[in-house]
């Protein structure tokens, strides 16, 4: 793989792009950001550093399931997100570490969700394992969105993608 150095600005651009896709509900494009062995995780609020094979997570999606998650959310029968809520993903505090083609990034996030008179806030931080392609692309091997809330109250659910 590439030995090129991935800059923080490049990772920031990538994360902003991801955030925009999510806020615009372009979920197929979001899925395409992942590698073929990609995964998307949300640990439980009481075990934020947990292991999905050992602890009960909120979301434990392999590549197939995250694709199905996106497909489901496009349907009217995904009732919790019909009509689609309005969301805004805010990204900050981006840090990048690189070892060859493997890039580790972390960022803070706040996601605002608004639906039918209810406004919810999802604060947290995300840990990414990115793959840098020789063509200058970045893809997500793993995204772990850690909610920095004690309990999922009053949000109640994570029917959106963080």
């Amino acid at each position: 793989m590439s030995e090129r150095t991935v800059t923080r600005a490049e990772v920031e651009d990538f994360l902003y792009h991801e955030a925009r896709l999510l806020d615009e509900w372009k979920l197929d494009d979001w899925v395409a950001l992942f590698t073929e062995d990609g995964e998307y995780l949300i640990p439980p609020t009481d075990v934020p550093d947990g292991d999905p094979q050992r602890d009960l997570f909120l979301v434990y999606d392999d590549r197939h399931r995250l694709g199905e998650r996106a497909k489901r959310l496009a349907k009217k029968s995904a009732h919790a997100e019909f009509p689609h809520s309005r969301t805004r993903h805010m990204i900050s505090n981006v840090e990048v570490r690189q070892a060859g083609a493997a890039v580790q990034a972390r960022c803070n996030f706040v996601v605002y969700r608004s639906k039918q008179g209810v406004n919810d806030i999802y604060p947290g931080h995300s840990l990414y394992e990115l793959r840098a392609g020789a063509d200058g692309s970045l893809r997500i091997r793993s995204k772990r969105a850690v909610l920095d809330v004690d309990t999922l109250r009053p949000q109640g659910k994570v029917s959106i993608i963080l």
């Binding site: 979301v59 489901r72 029968s77």
Partner: protein, 435 residues
């Protein structure tokens, strides 16, 4: 005329078997006075699930959590005895335990430093000279135990009424279903709560979740997108009206019920029903689990446990769903239109890493606030609650489905006997009947 002016409780439920009509007044979901009555006559008198024995398996272990609106400590003392204390200092009231779980030999109040041993005894008061030497001779300053607690097959319940009937009697025929939920797995080593709690909520009345948790009628519509997912993955489809039958509902007595089926649903079960997507290796392991369980509990019971699905409702607020995973779910209202949920995965001790991983994946495909189904359930409950704002204009919920056949041999899972069983008990207790 408002129906509630006629009678404080009787107005809420219409139960007319001759006409096959069962209705619940929507005011029962929105009225703050009803919630006060529920707290006094249901949650302060019924047996309420508090914790699982595996969470306090070893001396010194504790969990601290709110159970039916009261802060509790469930712990095992250094001599191995189980306790359930109110988590409040007997001095001025502050919580003496501020972490959700851990190990402790003592609980020390952060306010003035009173300290209690793990068996509840008051063992230290700073500057003791100012107290009479025999100020605790009657033990009244020790941590207070809840009036009653008991354990059934690993499920620890509390009761805030000292006169309560024994837990085993309270559970009635639901007891054997809890026993079944404790018999999973090849090892026969009992069950454990998997680390990681799903703590969430919904902006709806708590009774809507009890209705929803064993509702066979909503699956095809509320969960259409989940069914699409399973169909695409497994090629199977939920057939509510197959010859074999989608299943039945049993009234288990005292307000408890179960909806159950064998081989009737399109998803896999970690114990132990393989689906094509699990692959041959996992199928072989699951078949071996079945054979080991058959040798231990009998073939018929193992078939029921491994290949069947059960949505068990224990009055008033415990749901043990044994479906695509085995879950414990309990909930409590803090307002007529808001309840908090705690949900856990229950799993066999000694389960292989492969099956545990599959269990957790399978749990999350359907269940929990990030699953493919639970958020849609929550949405439905919240839509109902919003609809009830018009209760003065549209007064009644209809729960008549299957009423004419509910006393027959096999009331259908997609009918509404499970809800009627709950509401009949609710009506009786709110009217003042003994638990």
């Amino acid at each position: 005329m408002n129906p509630q002016d006629l009678d404080p409780i009787g107005w809420a439920v219409v139960d007319d078997k001759a006409r096959g009509v069962f209705r619940v007044h929507r005011r029962a979901f929105v009225d703050a006075q009803i919630l006060e009555l529920e707290r006094a006559r249901i949650f302060s008198r019924c047996w309420i699930y508090a914790a699982h024995a595996s969470e306090v398996a070893e001396p010194g272990q504790y969990v601290a959590r709110k159970v039916a609106g009261r802060e509790l400590i469930v712990n095992r003392d250094r001599d191995g005895r189980l306790h359930v204390f109110f988590n409040t200092c007997t001095h001025r009231g502050a919580l003496v335990c501020r972490e959700a779980k851990g190990r402790a030999r003592n609980f020390s109040c952060p306010y003035h430093g009173w300290t209690f041993a793990d068996d509840g005894r008051l063992v230290h008061q700073p500057i003791p000279e100012s107290y009479a030497p025999d100020c605790n001779s009657d033990g009244a300053l020790n941590l207070r135990e809840v009036p009653r607690f008991d354990e059934f097959c690993g499920f620890i319940f509390v009761n805030y009424d000292a006169q309560a009937i024994p837990l085993a009697d309270y559970l009635a025929d639901a007891g054997d279903y809890l026993r079944m939920a404790s018999q999973h797995g090849a090892a026969g080593a009992g069950m454990e709560i998997v680390s990681g709690t799903q703590t969430y909520c919904a902006k709806a009345n708590w009774k809507l979740l009890q209705e929803n948790s064993a509702d066979g009628y909503h699956a095809d519509t509320t969960h259409a997108s989940y069914m699409d997912y399973i169909k695409a993955r497994e090629g199977s489809v939920l057939n509510l009206y197959s010859e074999k039958g989608f299943g039945r509902v049993r009234n288990l007595g005292r307000g408890h019920s179960v909806s159950e089926s064998i081989w009737g649903t399109p998803w896999g079960r970690p114990c132990a029903r393989a689906m094509p997507s699990f692959g041959a290796e996992i199928k072989a392991e699951m078949d071996a689990v079945f054979e080991t369980m058959a040798a231990r509990v009998g073939r018929e019971r193992a078939d029921f446990i491994c290949h069947g699905d059960r949505n068990l409702l224990i009055f008033p607020n415990l749901v043990v769903n044994d479906v695509c995973a085995l879950t414990i779910r309990t909930f409590y209202p803090s307002a007529p239109d808001y309840f908090e949920v705690n949900a856990w995965a229950l799993a066999p001790r000694g389960e292989s890493q492969t099956l545990r991983d599959l269990r957790l994946r399978n749990y999350l495909e359907f269940l929990g606030p990030g699953g493919f189904a639970t958020p849609d359930d929550q949405e439905m409950l919240e839509l109902c609650q919003r609809g009830y704002q018009a209760h003065a204009g549209v007064e009644w919920n209809d729960l008549s489905r299957g009423m004419a056949t509910e006393d027959g041999p096999s009331p259908a899972k997609q009918d509404e006997l499970q809800m009627r069983t709950f509401w009949r008990r609710w009506r009786d207790l709110l009217a003042g009947a003994a638990v």
